[in-house]
Symmetry: C2
Subunit: 172 residues, 2 copies
DNA sequence: CGACAACTATTGACGTCACCAATTATTGCT
DNA sequence: AGCAATAATTGGTGACGTCAATAGTTGTCG
């Protein structure tokens, strides 16, 4: 059960963001502890918020979060089959088709025929794609900073290490 | 009414779909560290996985993750206006309508007229709803255990505390 | 060698979800 | 009384997940 979760009681006032009627949320209130008693559910909620923030960064580029995920993966592997993208990112193969179509149309990636297997296509990152990814990564850091605002650098480090441990098995 | 929740997920492991060419994933490899260098992106990815696992638990009940979120919130506040649900959960007001419709149809929640304001409806959890929520919570714990498998109890505790700190401002 | 199973990429269909605009009923303000 | 604001609702559009089906290709086995 939830035993001793000590939470710093700092109410961060966010410059006129939600000005409607929301009372400030305090994690020390009992209903709040009960609401987020489960870590998995907590991860789901935070992932949602993080994804929304990332998407708002990407919206002027015309691409979305899934494109960013593909680009990010391509930057690590110097060419990948579409079926690898599907398996590693957890997206349906049919979804990959559209995503790579969009990236190709934007000039950020290319499909090349595989020398081994004429069924497969190898998707590679182009130079403009690499440049774009660098820009977006920079914006991503700003998002992350905003999200992790309540945490000090040491805490962010431990959080990152823990999350990395969890993600290491299963789809990337 | 009783939901026998079986976490039989035929979803991910589809007859060794990944074992053709995928090497086992090791978080220590450089490409892996680079892929997950950003904590915000990492949160997004893990939130996705967590949400998928939760959804696979809920799929036989006919409800989905968003219904669970509403029920979970209702369990903490003894009745809420729909606009409160919208603000706190971050869902669009129009989405709340459908969700509460479904919950009412399933007998897990009720709309009651507000004595103060005849525009508002107060949504309350029913007894069957409370029972259902208990069952689901139990399944949720199994999901969380599966997800947090690489972490020992102390690490899970710190992770939970850190995530709780992050979630305390902004929409629940 | 030839029939056949398995696989890759692709397309199309169906339901869900997020986001926005518009509507109705009600309230508060002045 | 008049009028802006609000709560719930409806409808539309585009993105998204999942599944089924197809064409082209590969490997296997009789």
């Amino acid at each position: 059960m939830v035993t001793s979760i000590v939470v710093a009681d700092r109410r961060v006032r966010k410059t006129g963001a939600m000005d409607t009627k929301t009372t400030p949320i305090d994690a020390n209130e009992p209903w709040m502890r009960e609401l987020h008693a489960d870590t998995g559910y907590l991860l789901y909620r935070l992932g949602l918020r993080s994804g929304q923030l990332f998407n708002s960064c990407l919206q002027e580029s015309g691409l979305r979060l899934r494109h960013y995920a593909v680009l990010r993966f391509l930057a690590t592997c110097e060419g990948a089959l579409q079926r690898e993208l599907s398996a590693r990112l957890g997206y349906d193969p049919s979804a990959i088709v559209g995503l790579v179509d969009d990236l190709e149309k934007a000039g950020f990636a290319e499909r090349r025929p595989s020398p081994d297997d004429r069924r497969s296509r190898i998707v590679v990152l182009t130079d403009p794609g690499r440049a774009f990814l660098r820009d977006i990564d920079e914006a991503g850091l700003r998002v992350t900073n905003e999200l992790l605002d309540p945490l000090d650098p040491a805490e962010r480090e431990t959080l990152h290490a823990l999350l990395l441990r969890i993600v290491q098995d299963g789809p990337t």
